[in-house]
């Protein structure tokens, strides 16, 4: 794989220190499987030393088993140059969702991913999500939300959830973007201003100056780089944080924010 690092850029966070804050690893009902060797090789080529991995929806829909696989992977890569940081994934409609999340958080998962679009729930359906949020609060772990979907994971809905559980970090994929007209970018910035525990991942965001605007408005500690592979292409996504003008901002987005969120 081509090394896409910019040798002219003075950036100490590339060369193994950067964290990819989300990749969807394993058998995937809706897309070709992203395997660990493929993801690891991509991370090596980009200079990423740690990668947060979560299960996509597996063909057998057994999210608990998929989560346990990632916890085992994290244990087996703990001393490797590229290390996996596991997330659990649950479907809140499943009666065992909160208990499954608790078990996986106890065994090494560093947070929980939910996908309101694939699993058909509103992210601010408080009645449905409260048991899960209580487990996350008890574990001091973040909720990662597949965001950018109309009706179920809109920016204002994310802010509503985050405000109701202020001690739980809520992390939105895709910068919360649902469109390329600039509308959801504005809505997500408003959401970030409303909820101090709401964060965004950089994958696929519309406009680099939006990222810079978010950093200026709420701080780089609310923004983390994520490839969101295989939905997005890590070779392109890695260029977004690398294009941020300030070294301190790049350091935060490429490593510090994700370290604080996922390396408790």
């Amino acid at each position: 794989m081509t090394d896409l690092r910019d040798d002219d850029q003075d950036d100490e966070q590339v060369d193994g220190q950067a964290i990819d804050a989300l990749a969807l690893l394993g058998p995937n009902r809706y897309a070709p499987e992203l395997t660990w060797p493929a993801l690891r090789d991509t991370c090596r080529a980009l200079g990423v030393g740690r990668v947060v991995v979560a299960p996509p929806l597996p063909p057998d829909r057994d999210l608990a088993r998929a989560g346990r696989r990632l916890v085992s992977l994290a244990e087996s890569t703990a001393a490797d140059p590229v290390r996996a940081i596991p997330l659990a994934r649950v479907d809140p409609w499943e009666p065992s969702a909160a208990a499954d999340a608790a078990e996986l958080l106890d065994s090494g998962a560093r947070g929980v991913l939910v996908h309101p679009w694939e699993d058909n729930f509103r992210i601010n359906d408080v009645g449905l999500l409260t048991p899960l949020l209580h487990e996350l609060r008890a574990a001091g772990a973040p909720l990662v939300v597949e965001a950018g979907f109309p009706w179920v994971a809109e920016p204002a809905q994310l802010a509503d959830l985050a405000r109701r559980f202020p001690s739980v970090p809520v992390v939105a994929t895709r910068g919360g973007h649902m469109n390329m007209s600039g509308l959801s970018g504005a809505a997500m910035l408003a959401a970030l201003r409303q909820a101090a525990n709401l964060h965004v991942l950089t994958s696929g965001v519309y406009r680099q100056d939006w990222l810079e605007q978010v950093v200026g408005a709420v701080g780089a500690d609310r923004v983390a780089y994520a490839s969101h592979a295989p939905v997005f292409d890590p070779r392109l996504e890695f260029l977004r944080p690398r294009a941020l003008p300030e070294p301190a901002t790049r350091q935060a987005v490429l490593a510090a924010t994700a370290t604080r969120l996922f390396e408790r």
């Binding site: 469109n179 007209s181 696929g204 406009r207 939006w210 997005f232 292409d233 260029l239």
Partner: protein
């Protein structure tokens, strides 16, 4: 020759947006881009009454590097006249329409009137396409079908969730091309070239908000042959721009 088919210059104090031609040119220089299509983000005659003259002056001062596309609001009775004036008298090379900012139905008569004015001058019409009402590819297909002599370009290749629709529309309507601006999937560019041919895909950045170097890297990640890449990066744009008024 690299031509960026999608950049913006405008000044909208109400939004705090100041998109300067110097910023666009600086990004082009950093990325090795020779020329660019430039347009406002407001829809004439709304907001900035002197928009046509400002873009024309910007292009005239660029030493041939910037080519203006006139962005109009189709609801206004004079929209087609503005297009004709821009193309006939002010040196513009195309038209931009944005269904989100104008709420103009792509298949409605106000839009078709603009499209016909452009087609009469062989000027391409760049439609914002994406994930909102009035800008999805199949809605814009109604315009392409109604005015088959018009050259319709779907900016952003359908945005986040409508890239497959953008490709399908372009397959069905031979007068539809795609621009790559801001669309985040390099593989979709490869798929578009494979299914439509490289002559139907145009490199665009959406600068200055979207960095030209990053958007250019996206094309180079798409796995195109050298010949296909040359078409996408510049030859297709050159063909469209040179064809205006011919």
């Amino acid at each position: 020759m690299i031509i960026d088919f999608h950049t913006h210059v405008d000044d909208v104090p109400a939004l705090g947006w100041h998109l300067a031609a110097s910023d666009v040119l600086a990004q082009m220089d950093a990325a090795g881009v020779d020329q660019a299509v430039v347009m406002t983000i407001t829809d004439a005659p709304e907001v900035n009454e002197d928009a046509l003259q400002r873009i024309a002056a910007t292009c005239a001062a660029s030493g041939g590097r910037l080519h203006g596309f006139v962005r109009v609001h189709p609801w206004y009775e004079q929209a087609a006249e503005l297009v004709a004036h821009a193309l006939d008298d002010l040196g513009y090379r195309g038209v931009k329409l944005h269904g989100v900012s104008t709420l103009a139905d792509p298949g409605g008569e106000p839009v078709l009137r603009v499209l016909r004015a452009a087609a009469a001058r062989r000027a391409p019409v760049l439609f914002h396409s994406g994930d909102d009402p009035f800008v999805t590819p199949w809605e814009i297909a109604a315009a392409a079908a109604a005015v088959p002599e018009a050259t319709v370009v779907l900016a952003h290749m359908g945005g986040y969730a409508h890239t497959a629709d953008a490709l399908a529309v372009a397959e069905e309507f031979p007068n539809v091309l795609l621009d790559t601006a801001a669309m985040p999937y390099p593989a979709a560019i490869g798929a578009a070239v494979e299914r439509l041919g490289a002559h139907r895909v145009l490199f665009g950045s959406d600068a200055p908000g979207c960095p030209v170097p990053l958007e250019l890297a996206k094309i180079r990640l798409a796995g195109l042959t050298d010949a296909a890449q040359a078409l996408v990066l510049g030859e297709n744009a050159r063909r469209l721009l040179d064809g205006v008024g011919a």
